[in-house]
């Protein structure tokens, strides 16, 4: 078990649970990131934060702090 901010570019994982604030959990769900989905970290911004994540056909960016609330299971 890991959190999304620990994944390196190129690594994929399945979302296990979301532990962020209700509004963060809701926003992520609106963008298609919720329990059971598979995602891939594609890139980090020049200073290592925020990170870019692919999720189906959606490309998302979120800060490491936000990514730390997403528990994932690497695949």
């Amino acid at each position: 078990m890991a959190t999304l901010n620990e994944l390196r570019p190129g690594e994929s994982a399945r979302v296990v649970s979301l532990t962020g604030t209700p509004s963060l959990v809701q926003r992520l769900a609106e963008l298609g990131l919720f329990e059971g989905e598979t995602l891939t970290v594609v890139a980090l911004a020049p200073l290592g934060d925020p990170i870019e994540v692919h999720l189906g056909n959606t490309r998302l960016t979120l800060r490491r702090q936000e990514a730390a609330t997403v528990t994932v299971e690497p695949i």
Binding site: L18, T21, P22, S23, L24, V25, Q26, R27, L28, A29, E30, L31, G32, F34, E35, V42, A43, L44, A45, P46, L47, G48, D49, P50, E52, G56, N57, T58, R59, L60, T61, L62, R63, Q65, E66
Partner: protein
Amino acid sequence: MPSAHLRVALVGNPNTGKSTLFNALSGLRQHVGNYPGVTVEMKKGRFSFHGIDFTLIDLPGTYSLAPRSPDEMVAVDLLLGRRAEEAAPDLILAVIDASNVDRHLYLTTQLMELGLPMVVAVTMTDTAAAQGIVLDCEKLAAALGVPVVPVQASRGVGMDALRSALCHGGKVPTPPPFPDAVAGELDALAAACPLVPRFLVQRLLFDVGGHIETWLTQTQAPTLPAQLAAARQRLAAAGCAVSGVEARTRYGWIRTATAGAVTKPTTRLTTRTDRIDRVLTHKVWGTLAFLAVMFLVFQSIFVWAKPFMDAIDAGRGWVGDLLTAHTAAGPLRSLLVDGVLKGVGGVLVFLPQILILFAFIAVLEDCGYMARAAFLMDKVMSRCGLNGKSFIPLLSSVACAVPAILSTRVIENRRDRLATIMVAPLMSCSARLPVYALFIGSFLRDGYPWWLSGLTLFGMYLIGFLVAPLVALLLKRTLLRGETPLFVMELPAYKMPTLKTVLFRVYDAGSAFVRRAGSIILASMVVIWASLYFPYVDASGASYPDRIEALEADDAPEGSAAEAARLQGEWKRNSYLGRVGRGLEPAVAPLGWDWKIGVAALASFPAREVMVGTFGILYDVGEVDAKEVGNADDPKAAGLKATLQKEWADDPIRGKYGVSVALSVMVFFALCCQCASTLAVIRRETRSWAWPAFTFTYMTLLAYLGGFVTFQLGRVLTDALGG
């Protein structure tokens, strides 16, 4: 039987091609609507088809109907017919992106809860096809229970089919069913909140800490918060915690509904966007590309706009000459030429920069780069409590704060946006340059190392770069304190920007500025004109303008030009503004200033670019063209510098501490909000007088403090070094 007039609400995620669709449907028959109390603007368009008149309301792009702020609530209220100025729509036109159907349908299933008839338009079918995604619109229509029409708005494909579907009025869909436990709690809550629409009751239950919860718990029975908490607790115990049940139910339903309608390749193909992103979000190449784009934006608003701004200035001068030639001398002519015309010119002169900046922003947003720029700059900006989206407005502000403040609309979070607006005027704009040039040229060039003038100018810009982030941080910790806003953002697929969308954006920005900020700028110019014009008679009752006119006549004797300049100076010194300035001398003395600098600074509050001109008048040189300050060959500019040097040398304070006084004036101008246009735009963008008043106050105090510290430090240093 459809009525002869239908109101259609256009709803969809950001970056779905919604604006392109709106422009394709309504063409030029569109205007921007405002809503009192919020900063939201929505466009309304009109079109007719088969004898039916349509009103199309373009709601702001959104991922969901869960409002988090009063601004987001406007769209929900509008859909429910709860805004007094806007009747409920008859029909919803939901826009979804064919390459990402599941996610886009999430919003669509929320729209289904409203009980309104709906038509779905599918965009980006070509992008989807390129990725091997095939969408069967008939099957999707059957699954959703509403008409589904594929369109390519930029090429006009499918538009008649869409119009015809709208003519038929759409269909009322059945929303995805929630688990029984949820439905039961909704019924109980609905009973506790009579008169509240069922849709809002659902949002009350699902949106923990959302806008609806805040609003309803304040306006409904005092037992509601406890009842709501108990309901959420029971749902969590039943395995339907509100944090996940909505996403699970909606996405689950969507996957079943689209199973037969969408064919996707088993492995996701690498798209063009993926390939572009490998470069543009790359640590090295992405940063370089970003710097190149920013340089282009910066260069364009600084350099490309200049010929247009000069042309507007020249046009103003030409009209002024024309007016002077055809009107009699006196207050009326002066009001027209020096008040109204300068005011109108002062409004129009901002347009080239605004239009160019907005053309860039529209292109960058429409093609999808804006989100990447925010991604690249977020870490840096987050250090001062802002986010990546504040970067472009702050950079633009180095050219001019007016377009920069207008461009802060890309920042969704209200507090971040306000903080950016408040600090943008601290960046050294191009109108400050003549002031720097005058004082550096007069006091820091001759007799000093060659690099000192460049270093001083750089230092002036550095003040903005350093103070703005610090003030932003301070604001975010005090006045604008609150939960860190979410940064989570979609990086949309790259696409070619459409000319129409860009042109409409540019037109909207320009016309909004002229209509809303124009009147305030004009009014302030007229007020400052009047306070410098009246009274226009000297102690003996003779009129200054008449005496000056006589001296400027062609047959006037030698030396009368200098006498005219002297009279002009005397007149302005005795004007109301001059008198106030002289009265203020004790207040500006700690900055090392005399009353002349004080009056010039005071007269520059509506527009700092008048500083150099006013200085020329006060020092009896006549009006100096701010553009010519750096030009050693311009007789008036050179004359002003010589007069300044001479007058200061004769003065005990300014003679000894000339450099410190010059620096104090420059620091004051670097930090002060001497720009009525900026304040007018802040008023327009925040819909409140409080924020411009705050900006003005804090910047003026900061400027005074800056000038004070600079002079006093300089004085101590001069004394220590010079003995």
